[in-house]
C-alpha cells in the first residue's frame, strides 16, 4: 500500500514543482515542497471557513457575529458542509502525503513524557532524536485524522438531516461538536507554535524553506539527515 501511495505522492510533488517552485538560498534547507504547501493551505483555509461558519451555528452567542461573514444564516448553513467537504478531501491527500513522516516512534513517546520541559521552554533545543516532526506535531496530525473521520461520518447525516432518523441527528450533533472542539484546541496551539512561539517556522509553509539554525534547534535528527553534517551533541 505504502509504495503505491509513495509513487502517487512523488508524481504529485513533481507535478506541482513544475508549476510552482521552492527557492533554497545558501544556509537554508528545503522543508516543505510546493505540493505540501498547497495542500496545507487548502486544508487551512477550508478549515478556517468551516470553523467560522460552524461556530456561527454552534452557539447563540456567536450566531449574530459570524453569520454576516457568510451572507446570513441560511447561506452559512448552505456553505458550511461544502467547506467541510473541501477540508476533508484536501486533508485526505495531506494524510497520504505525510503518512510516512507522521508514523509514531519510541522517540515520540519519550517526547510526550518531556512535554512539561518543552512547554516551559527550559531547554533551548529539541532532543537530538527529534526528526522531521516532533511528538506534538504527530499528535496533532493524528487528532486531525480522528476529527476528520468524525466530522465526515457525523457531517453527512447533519447535512441531509431532513431525511435521516431523529436520534441519528441528535447523536451526530454532539459528536460533530466534540470533533470541532478537539480540532479547535489543537488549532490554537498549532497556529501559536507555527508563528509567535517559534520564529522562523511560518516561512517553512510560505517559502518552503527554513534556516539551518532553525532545523538544528527544532529538528536535530532531520538536520543531520538533510545536511549530512554531524555537529557536536553537547
Amino acid at each position: 500500500m505504502s509504495s503505491s501511495v509513495e509513487r502517487f505522492d512523488d508524481k504529485a510533488r513533481a507535478e506541482f514543482e513544475k508549476y510552482g517552485r521552492t527557492v533554497v538560498h545558501r544556509g537554508e534547507l528545503l522543508r516543505h515542497p510546493v505540493y505540501t504547501r498547497v495542500l496545507h493551505w487548502t486544508v487551512a483555509i477550508s478549515f478556517i471557513l468551516a470553523l467560522l461558519s460552524g461556530f456561527a451555528i454552534y452557539s447563540p452567542w456567536l450566531y449574530r457575529w459570524l453569520t454576516p461573514l457568510f451572507g446570513g444564516g441560511a447561506m452559512t448553513r448552505l456553505l458550511h458542509p461544502w467547506f467541510g467537504l473541501v477540508f476533508t478531501v484536501a486533508f485526505f491527500f495531506q494524510f497520504l502525503n505525510w503518512l510516512a513522516p507522521m508514523r509514531w516512534t519510541e522517540a515520540d513517546t519519550r517526547w510526550m513524557k518531556r512535554l512539561r520541559t518543552y512547554v516551559s521552554n527550559r531547554e533551548t533545543r529539541e532532543l537530538p532524536e527529534t526528526s522531521f516532526f516532533n511528538g506534538g506535531q504527530k499528535l496533532y496530525f493524528w487528532l486531525i485524522v480522528l476529527s476528520a473521520v468524525l466530522f465526515l461520518i457525523t457531517g453527512i447525516p447533519l447535512w441531509f438531516d431532513d431525511v435521516v432518523a431523529r436520534w441519528l441527528v441528535a447523536v451526530s450533533y454532539v459528536v460533530h461538536d466534540i470533533a470541532a472542539l478537539i480540532m479547535l484546541a489543537g488549532f490554537i496551539i498549532h497556529v501559536y507554535e507555527g508563528t509567535a512561539a517559534q520564529p522562523g517556522t511560518f516561512r517553512s509553509m510560505i517559502d518552503g524553506t527554513v534556516s539551518r539554525a532553525w532545523a538544528w534547534t527544532h529538528h536535530p535528527a532531520w538536520y543531520r539527515k538533510a545536511t549530512g553534517d554531524k555537529p557536536r551533541e553537547d
Partner: protein, 312 residues
C-alpha cells in the same frame, strides 16, 4: 408566520440576552382541546387548515385506511390519524387529529441554532419565523412528535401555527371553527383542562372506559394541545403518540451546558497561548555548533588523534 407584534413573545430560539417586552402584558395560556372519543374522522379540520393557510391541494395517498396521507407535510399541518383497534371483540376506530402540540418546553425551539427562527408566545403558541430559518433541520430532530417538516425547495421548515394569526386577532383556530361535532374546543389552558377532566370522568363512569385520561405530557412541561383518550395507558396506540415525549439531551444538557463550556475553554486557550508568549517566550533558533571533521589520515584509517580540529 404571524406578525409577532400582535402577541407577547416569551421565548426566542438561539437568542442571547433577554426577550424584548417579555412579561409586560397579561397573556392567558391558550389551549386546543381534542376529544378523540367523539371525533368522527370527517376531516373538516384538515380542509379548514388547508383553506385558511392557503395551502395547495396535495396529492393524497391511499394505504388501506381512511387516512389522507402517511404523515403531516410541510404544507399539510393537520392530519387525522386512523387506527383500527379491537377492544373486547369489537372494532374501534381511533381517530386522532395530529398536529403541532405547542409544548410548554418546545424541543424545536431548544434545538434551533438560528436567532428568532422559532418563537414561543406568552400564550403558549410555538411559531416558526421562516424569514429567520436557516434550514438546518435541527428542530425536526428536537421534536418528540415528528411535526416540523422541511420544504426542500425553499429550504425552510413549516408546521402548524395554532393559527397564531387568527388567535392574535381574537379568533379561534381554523380547525376549531370547522369542527362539526364539538370534539374540538379552544380557550384558556385552565378551561380546556377542566372540560377534559369532566369528559374523562364521564368516559370512566358512564361509558366503561376505565383507563380514559387527559394527554398533557408533563415530561415537556405540558402541551397547549391536549387530548382526551379512551386509554391513556396506551398512548402509542393512537398513531404513535409518545407516552413520555422527551427532548434529546443534545439540545438540553449538551447545548446549554457543555457547548458554552467548550466555547469558554477555547477562549481561555487563546489567552493561554498569548500569556505563554509574553511570559515563557519564544523558542529562538540556536546557532549551529561547528562541524566535527577528521584529519585526512584519520579518514583513511589512522588512529584518532587526541586533538580535534574544528572547521566552521
Amino acid at each position: 408566520m404571524s406578525n409577532p407584534q400582535t402577541m407577547q413573545i416569551q421565548e426566542i430560539s438561539a437568542h442571547p440576552g433577554p426577550v424584548p417586552g417579555r412579561g409586560t402584558q397579561r397573556a392567558a395560556e391558550v389551549c386546543k382541546y381534542i376529544d378523540v372519543t367523539t371525533c368522527i374522522g370527517c376531516k373538516a379540520c384538515e380542509v379548514a387548515c388547508v383553506e385558511w393557510n392557503d395551502h395547495p391541494f396535495r396529492e393524497t395517498s391511499f394505504d388501506n385506511t381512511y387516512q389522507t396521507m402517511p404523515s403531516t407535510e410541510w404544507n399539510y399541518w393537520n392530519l387525522i390519524k386512523f387506527v383500527e383497534h379491537e377492544r373486547d371483540g369489537n372494532l374501534m376506530w381511533l381517530m386522532r387529529k395530529d398536529q403541532c402540540m405547542h409544548c410548554e418546553d418546545p424541543g424545536c425551539l431548544r434545538a434551533c441554532p438560528a436567532d428568532g427562527a422559532v418563537i414561543k408566545y406568552e400564550n403558549g403558541i410555538v411559531d416558526f419565523q421562516q424569514e429567520n430559518c436557516i434550514g438546518c433541520g435541527y428542530c425536526i430532530s428536537g421534536c418528540p412528535f415528528d411535526i416540523p417538516k422541511f420544504n426542500p425547495k425553499t429550504k425552510k421548515v413549516f408546521k402548524c401555527t395554532l393559527c397564531s394569526d387568527r388567535v392574535g386577532q381574537g379568533l379561534e383556530p381554523a380547525c376549531i371553527k370547522a369542527c362539526p361535532t364539538g370534539c374540538l374546543h379552544f380557550g384558556t389552558k385552565q378551561d380546556m383542562v377542566q372540560i377534559a377532566r369532566t369528559r374523562v370522568s364521564q368516559l370512566q363512569n358512564e361509558s366503561g372506559f376505565a383507563n380514559a385520561g387527559v394527554y398533557d405530557p408533563q415530561s415537556i412541561g405540558g402541551t397547549h394541545v391536549i387530548y382526551v383518550l379512551h386509554d391513556i395507558t396506551n398512548a402509542e396506540l393512537y398513531g404513535g403518540l409518545p407516552a413520555n415525549p422527551v427532548i434529546p439531551p443534545s439540545y438540553t444538557i449538551w447545548k446549554w451546558l457543555a457547548k458554552p463550556t467548550g466555547l469558554l475553554m477555547a477562549i481561555l486557550g487563546v489567552f493561554a497561548v498569548f500569556f505563554h508568549r509574553i511570559t515563557v517566550g519564544p523558542k529562538l533558533p540556536q546557532p549551529e555548533p561547528p562541524v566535527l571533521t577528521k584529519y585526512p589520515d584519520e579518514a583513511a584509517g589512522a588512529p584518532a588523534r587526541s586533538g580535534r580540529r574544528e572547521v566552521p
